[in-house]
Subunit: 436 residues, 2 copies
Amino acid sequence: MAFKVGLLGLGTVGTGTVEILRDPAQRHPLLQELVIHKVGVRSLDKARSLNLSADLLTTDLDAIVTDPEIDIVVEVMGGLEPARSLILKALAHKKHVVTANKAAIARFGDEIFTAASEAGVYVLLEAAVGGGIPVIEPLKQSLCANRINTVIGIVNGTTNYILTRMQTEGGDFGEILADAQQLGYAEADPTADVDGLDAADKIAILASLAFSGRIKLSEVYCEGIRQIGAADIAYAEKLGFVIKLLAIAKRESDQQLQVRVHPTLVPKTHPLASVNDVYNAILIEGDPIGQVMFFGRGAGAGPTASAVVSDILNIAAILKVGRGQVTQADGTPLLDPLLACSHQHYCTIAPMSELVTRFYARFLTQDYPGVIGKLGTCFGDHQVSLESVVQAGIRDGLAEIVVVTHDVREGNFRKALDEIQRMTTVANIASVLRVL
Amino acid sequence: MAFKVGLLGLGTVGTGTVEILRDPAQRHPLLQELVIHKVGVRSLDKARSLNLSADLLTTDLDAIVTDPEIDIVVEVMGGLEPARSLILKALAHKKHVVTANKAAIARFGDEIFTAASEAGVYVLLEAAVGGGIPVIEPLKQSLCANRINTVIGIVNGTTNYILTRMQTEGGDFGEILADAQQLGYAEADPTADVDGLDAADKIAILASLAFSGRIKLSEVYCEGIRQIGAADIAYAEKLGFVIKLLAIAKRESDQQLQVRVHPTLVPKTHPLASVNDVYNAILIEGDPIGQVMFFGRGAGAGPTASAVVSDILNIAAILKVGRGQVTQADGTPLLDPLLACSHQHYCTIAPMSELVTRFYARFLTQDYPGVIGKLGTCFGDHQVSLESVVQAGIRDGLAEIVVVTHDVREGNFRKALDEIQRMTTVANIASVLRVL
Ligand SMILES: NC(=O)c1ccc[n+]([C@@H]2O[C@H](COP(=O)([O-])OP(=O)(O)OC[C@H]3O[C@@H](n4cnc5c(N)ncnc54)[C@H](OP(=O)(O)O)[C@@H]3O)[C@@H](O)[C@H]2O)c1
Ligand SMILES: NC(=O)c1ccc[n+]([C@@H]2O[C@H](COP(=O)([O-])OP(=O)(O)OC[C@H]3O[C@@H](n4cnc5c(N)ncnc54)[C@H](OP(=O)(O)O)[C@@H]3O)[C@@H](O)[C@H]2O)c1
């Protein structure tokens, strides 16, 4: 049997994908039954590292997603449009889809999965989160007996690289970002990474799978790492923490989830604390499995293509054994309930003001004896119980005060901060971070 | 639809399995379509923590595996016989099988998978390695596009617990084993764990999946942790290592694998070095994914039952969508080429003498100036190049000498040791360990 694959995109991931497809030795024998039928790109003139026969390449992507010969469309072009429209059109033409596009899935997952269900085809997306690290398929299949309670991930390699270097070198965010850009670890426009948007896309996808509901991306709280200073890294270190950009999804109650991305103080003994450089890791806590963690490279041509091609093979295996021969009343093939994303309702996400967490905050204040007392009283007035208040030093003639709270309601903490902000003795709230 | 499950065994894992099956809330909805049809045990009189209706329990296990109503047989009784015969009989009666029995699969995998292929049914075994940690399914599905080069695991919780305590407390093997037995972390008869046999079963299974061939268990080299002394842990620590019982499978060439279990010096910076206590982790290195690691609890009722029930659900999902409706010429359902273990040939395992590795060795010798020179010359004569030789101290009036080699052929190293053993100046080769 031969399964025909149409690729949309031949950039980093597309090239990695073709390289695996053309080199099946010592890989799964099913690879030999895959045929690259067409590859869609923007420009036919671009120099390519791969030696592809010219008649495979086309700029007519519409022709790929409607080609009656193609079984599986692989979307590795990225971006929102035309990626979204092409995926929907491929599904309408009853093609299975494999995609690495977290941005499109996080935003248009509802339309895309509804269209897939109606067409009786699969949309697989292992590459969209954690690069090659298996996490989508484990959530769907290997962990399906569990009640998932928490998913916590380091899912953005660029920010983890920057934070790791800030940690080891003691440098400031701006200079290390500039260096990371030079070295190719950060994009020229770093916004999606450093402002946490990419991580937010990914945790929205993971939360949707873990809690079997749809997630409105606009409800995912998202805070990046631009405001982290060398001082915060150093104080955190002294307190026994490292700072990581965490993407967190948590079942708060039967009705509500927390879904959020923000830099977080992580205890050094926590399994995520030692995940450094561009590595990603996803920690899942479920009942009755307890904690499991998945670790590896979250990006790059090889790891990402590993996930893309594995998804293609999983679909080829289904096609081969004729799964989908059982049909529903309207003739649509019945989809595997573990592999399809058939949930329809939206999860309710709790507002951040209701979050209960520990906080770390750093204040610059006038250097006189009553200040710590004033801060303490203000927090107390708002039911914010403190674990420690330390005058850590003097900076620019101001006293630097570091506060760590016990578990408190974020809403209460914010009200106290509002009041502190207005105190004439407080020059600056230099940083506010949550503690895991 | 309802899928009928027959359980063989209601001990630790069986009880955990029933607990999940009876509590589907917030778990995958497919759970609600599973029905426990029969549960086989040894004794009907035994007090059970579960309140199971009496007509479910039976001591007639044969009747379960031949019951025409049962779709899926779950073998969680353990041991070699009658487990093997019951599994084979279940397969002959075209029942899908889920098992947690690493001992039986490592020994009888060839018979069992051949019988499953002939019957056109699946044998799933996620629980057999790493408890709840997804590793079998990722190897079969999520990583299937890769050429796997290495699998290295900490796959035995008991030995990892003992070694971690030896590391943190500085105690000796014997006393910590006794304490571990008291605390329930080690069995009364600890042989299978501390002599590495359980880890050997597991790496044989992982190697078979990673390298798509069968493995003769008798060819798996296996060395336990009884001989590790507090002195070795302390010297390793000074050299920047921790000692872990590693199970290793490696592609040495197109023709040959290494498959081995032994205590190993692991650099403290290695991802496996910080896997402590009863936790397990499996590190897989593949092309093009690079390194990925899976971490979690490798045993216990909850984690193991998570894997067992997930396997049951995976089979139920297949049954539900009617996969297997495409049949071969003889009418047997065609099995999913990713999920079935259809490889027939045996892998060739290289003899240990051909292994190229670094070694650590500790000698007790007479305390006079020429001894280090004699050792060095002897190693040199056998092409064993040394990284360091240190007289580490005096023990019982003897000089304690610690040697670390560069990468050397194990055969050469052993010949040198034979010669050293016979030197009158050398009282004792106190320990020999490999270095990762
Ligand atoms: N790179 C990674 O490490 C990584 C990791 C995980 C997920 N992903 C995801 O994978 C996807 C692809 O990423 P990438 O890094 O491979 O991107 P890339 O290197 O920029 O490649 C994009 C490819 O798509 C083609 N393309 C883009 N827009 C097109 C259009 N409108 N019409 C026709 N062709 C178009 C480009 O054609 P030309 O070649 O002619 O310009 C190029 O071949 C993205 O969704 C990304 O988020 C990437
Ligand atoms: N425990 C773990 O953490 C763990 C982790 C991974 C894998 N596993 C594997 O899971 C399997 C089960 O382990 P377990 O710890 O659950 O064992 P267990 O607690 O000893 O339970 C064994 C069960 O099987 C029944 N049984 C045993 N031999 C029988 C026979 N000949 N006829 C009828 N019933 C028989 C026993 O019946 P009675 O109740 O009447 O005595 C008991 O219910 C083993 O293969 C083990 O290697 C266990």
